[in-house]
Symmetry: C2
Subunit: 452 residues, 2 copies
């Protein structure tokens, strides 16, 4: 590796020039006005992948933004690694809070500044550059690689699963490598599981129209009160979900895994600071990392009924609605959870009203096999690159592409990242330490060599 | 009275011409574009009052629309009746549902049609015409009378109490007479009590900003869930308010009063038809008239939190709000109820959040002395005019002016009405039977004579 480390050092200027070019393209996926820049970014990364020595590079069209594909497949007996990344970025707003221009990369105090520098242009570019380095020096990669760089991650990756299904043969791989996460400030990370999600919408209709609370207060039911009653029956004030069948099937987190996860524990003080909460609220007897990673959670995301403008309007609203979501963990399946929710609502719904529940969205949780060669190799590569044992973590949310690759391609992801917690991924002054960009290149080389 | 009945018959044409003129003025108080018509209506009724023989007629200015005052005070030992009415009307929308023009009174099948014909131009005009009739025939009234015809009833009578306070001496009377209610289809009515109202706004704040339900679901509290919990603790699923101290102080409705009220019972079928409810919901063991007239009720009028647009947004909302109102009955006082609500909220509010309650509005209930000479006389006059014993009723809502006259002037109101339940007071094709307009004139004469 000494040679490679020297090589990376020598090419630092070239690498930064490349990244500066990439950052200069405002590939904002949330805003249609940047549609041309989306295409420019896709072209740019295609060009850069070709230049690095990747083959069959092409843009796979979707009904949305194209996904850039590339490969280097020259081994018959070696595994194939699928590198995932995204060339689209968050909008730069609020612009006036940037200290340098968001689409002109600048360097200050050892950090690169610019929109997309952490999320996710530098991380996935580092994989391309790592491959370039090996091919430059050895003409051959230790394993096969494929690349999928999509353009809709910041708007929900809605077209990614369909693209995977339509191109299953082309993208088939043995393991995915994703560096779109956030590392700890004191250690690298592998996120080996993600919670699933069941979204649902409750609607309570008691009356055909809003009526006067003077005339009918005391003789007809009140839709927002019925909704409040149902919601308060679904989770108690100890943070336990009261819908039957939710806790029976849960995967037990063994003592060994608990110890490993304890190293990734989020301090309560950090939660309070980040959210402004007065105290945490959740199931007793569990660490925060378990509460957010290995336990289901239930939230109301929005609620509406009746009159909510200025002043008062003394009506009994005819209906009330709540958007809710449950984060689910193995071994819960989204379909099972939906059935449990429906049954419970039906059981407790008062006879005075029509109560309905709809499920617009949902996905199963994923859990990767952390006792696998590809995980051991990744841990080792991360440890050698960052000089620290990586911490193992379970993620509270779902990351569309990572979940999709597990569910559609059936492969584990090495889900890691080089951005630090204070890199401001979706904020003004997004940054990344220059060292972490270069370590991405080193990690790519180390990982591919270990996998061989 | 025979002479008077003949006189009314002979003047039928004049009366209808007068009313037609009055109806032709679109005095819509809810729409600023009709401001000139508001003044025109005030002038018209002033003119008509003068013509009838009322004296010192004037418009009392308020910060809103003027209140028209008039009097006939020539007895030292006789009581003074204060006739209340309002010259403003509801907007005529939706216009395309009117069968004849709203501001051109028309006659069909014995009914008068036009905006304001029932609510409240014909009823209060009938009092003016009744007085005119007596003065024409006898030159002298049997008792003293005063008039207050306001112009903001349809927008909440916000300036009426201030006007009363500022003119307390001028408007001082012994009893008020208000024909702005709705009679039964088979009998006249006196509404001898009105519930009071305590409006309050609950605000729950758990976090400094909305946060991601993946990252924090399971470790922080959820504001709309806390709000739901609080709401569901305030009233149980048997329709009982669980805030301490609400039922202890209630006036007992004696067996005699219960029997009287039973004649005004609203059939459950009527409630279901008017509201579209599948079944009624309220305290067990009480008739509907008691539930809406003599028992407190608690409702959520509106609720809002988090994301309520299209699709899903998996956030934990930072805050949640509910507008609520309690209808109160004797002997509850609004201030006492506010204290009980505040104390209860404080007691049950979780420590995880800031929970606040504000009281933007409120008023005590009123109950008139139905065992009084002015009530006995009114019952007798109504019985003779309509040929049926009047039913006695308690009203679920509060009627600003009636409550104000009780609270500021300390006087009972004879709160009655000539409009039928199907007269469409706030709807297209508002109507009033011609006979009821004329009976208003007769009733005025009969009542004043009995009071003497």
């Amino acid at each position: 590796m000494k040679d490679y480390l020297l090589y990376i050092k020598q090419n630092r200027g070239n690498y930064l020039r490349s990244l500066r070019e990439y950052i200069s393209i405002p590939s904002v996926s949330a805003d249609k006005r940047f549609r041309k820049d989306i295409d420019r970014a896709a072209s740019w990364i295609s060009m850069r992948m070709k230049k690095a020595g990747l083959e069959k590079v092409k843009a796979i069209a979707t009904v949305g933004n194209p996904v850039v594909y590339g490969e280097w497949i020259h081994h018959k007996e070696k595994p194939t690694v699928l590198f995932y990344g995204h060339y689209d970025v968050q909008p730069p707003d609020p612009l006036d809070q940037w200290e340098s221009k968001p689409f002109e990369m600048s360097v200050r105090d050892g950090n690169l500044y610019g929109r997309g520098v952490a999320d996710n242009k530098a991380p996935h570019l580092s994989h391309v550059l790592g491959i370039e380095a090996i091919l430059k020096k050895e003409k051959i990669l230790p394993v096969n690689v494929k690349f999928l760089i999509e353009g809709e991650e910041e708007v929900g990756s809605a077209n990614f699963p369909r693209m995977l299904k339509a191109n299953e043969k082309l993208v088939k791989s043995d393991v995915a490598f994703v560096s779109d996460g956030i590392m700890f400030s004191d250690a690298p990370v592998i996120e080996y599981g993600l919670r699933g999600l069941v979204c649902f919408e409750l609607a309570v209709k008691c009356l055909k129209k809003d009526v006067h609370s003077g005339s009918f207060g005391g003789v007809v039911d009140n839709a927002p009160m019925v909704l409040s009653y149902i919601i308060s029956r679904m989770k108690d004030r100890k943070g336990r979900i009261r819908i039957p069948g939710i806790y029976d099937k849960l995967r037990k987190v063994g003592l060994g895994e608990q110890k490993i996860l304890a190293k990734s524990e989020t301090p309560t003080s950090e939660i309070l600071e980040n959210t402004g909460a007065k105290s945490t609220f959740g199931e007793n007897g569990y660490k925060n990392i378990i509460r957010t990673g290995a336990r289901p959670s239930l939230d109301v995301n929005g609620i509406s009924s009746g009159y909510t403008g200025e002043g008062m309007k003394t009506i009994i609203p005819s209906e009330a609605r709540a958007k809710m979501s449950m984060r689910i963990v193995p071994n819960l399946k989204a379909d099972y959870v939906k059935k449990q929710i429906s049954t419970f609502i039906k059981k407790i719904a008062p006879k005075t009203c029509e109560v309905s529940v709809e499920f617009p969205d949902g996905g199963d949780p994923v859990l990767f096999d952390r006792n696998s060669k590809e995980y051991d190799d990744a841990k080792q590569a991360l440890k050698e690159t960052f000089g620290k044992e990586p911490k193992m973590k379970l993620v509270g949310g779902s990351v569309g592409a990572v979940t999709d690759m597990k569910q559609i391609l059936g492969i584990n992801s090495i889900f890691t990242g080089f951005a630090l917690p204070d890199c401001g991924m979706h904020s003004p002054n997004e940054k990344l330490p220059i060292g972490n960009f270069l370590k991405g290149i080193e990690l790519t080389i180390r990982y591919l060599k270990k996998l061989a």
